[in-house]
Symmetry: C2
Subunit: 150 residues, 2 copies
């Protein structure tokens, strides 16, 4: 269920036109770089991906643009246990949550329909309009490949 990058760009352009912001090469470059990563990435990753290319960008612009993309719902942000903010593309990817191994820090994605029910129940009960959520399960994976951090 991949969405063509052209369509993503076109959605982005529609958003910035509506907001009377500017369609700059840097922004498009960062958007494309964000969608070229399969899983999670951070600002530094994008910066390094693009650095050296014809259209390279500054780290500050990466941060600014990722925030813009988040406002438009084109990327999600996560705070796992490490220091920096992790991002991921949303369009064409199913809503999902994360299981994180406390030993090897592997991150596995999963879906469970019951989370949607919890959102609805709690939204009603607490009188919130729930917009998004983050569910992280932390544990120990039983894979042989799991290398204990210590």
């Amino acid at each position: 269920m991949q969405v063509p990058i052209k369509e993503v760009v076109s959605i982005f352009k529609r958003n910035i036109e509506r907001d009377k912001l500017r369609n700059t090469p840097s922004r498009i470059t960062i958007l494309k770089a964000a969608y070229s990563h399969k899983g999670h990435f951070n600002a530094e990753t994008i910066y390094n991906t693009v650095k050296g290319d014809a259209q390279s960008v500054s780290l500050a612009t990466v941060y600014n643009t990722l925030e813009l993309l988040q406002k438009y719902g084109l990327v999600r942000t996560h705070k796992f246990s490490n220091q920096h903010t992790e991002y991921e593309a949303t369009l064409g990817y199913a809503q999902h949550d994360h299981m994180i191994c406390l030993d090897c820090e592997k991150v596995v994605e999963f879906c469970d329909p019951r989370i949607q029910m919890i959102r609805e129940t709690m939204g009603e009960l607490l009188e919130f309009e729930v917009e998004k959520h983050a569910l992280n399960l932390y544990g120990h994976c039983r894979k042989a490949s799991c290398e204990k951090a210590l």
Copy 2:
């Protein structure tokens, strides 16, 4: 269902002895300060609470000790959307999750038994021993007191 602080201290001491670590005044002070806060707090909060007291501590020690308390299951840590790590006491407090208002940043606690089922299902499916989880719902509260951040 408050647990007397004496009991908390005694549990802490038992852990320290088992690990052959040292029972220092600073550690006890920080433990007590952590349990004197009702909700969430951060390292700076603890530091300020204790600063000026007979037994004051350094910020570095606060961080070290909070990490130790987390290992012993005496505090939980959270990363909401703001910069710093938030902590909360666990003993005597029911396991719960958080609803966060994107406008006024209010945090409301809730419980939903279905989260336990998700933990079990996903632990089995993905072959993880789930140890803990964090579920944050983000949305807009409909209270009059809600002041839009902007």
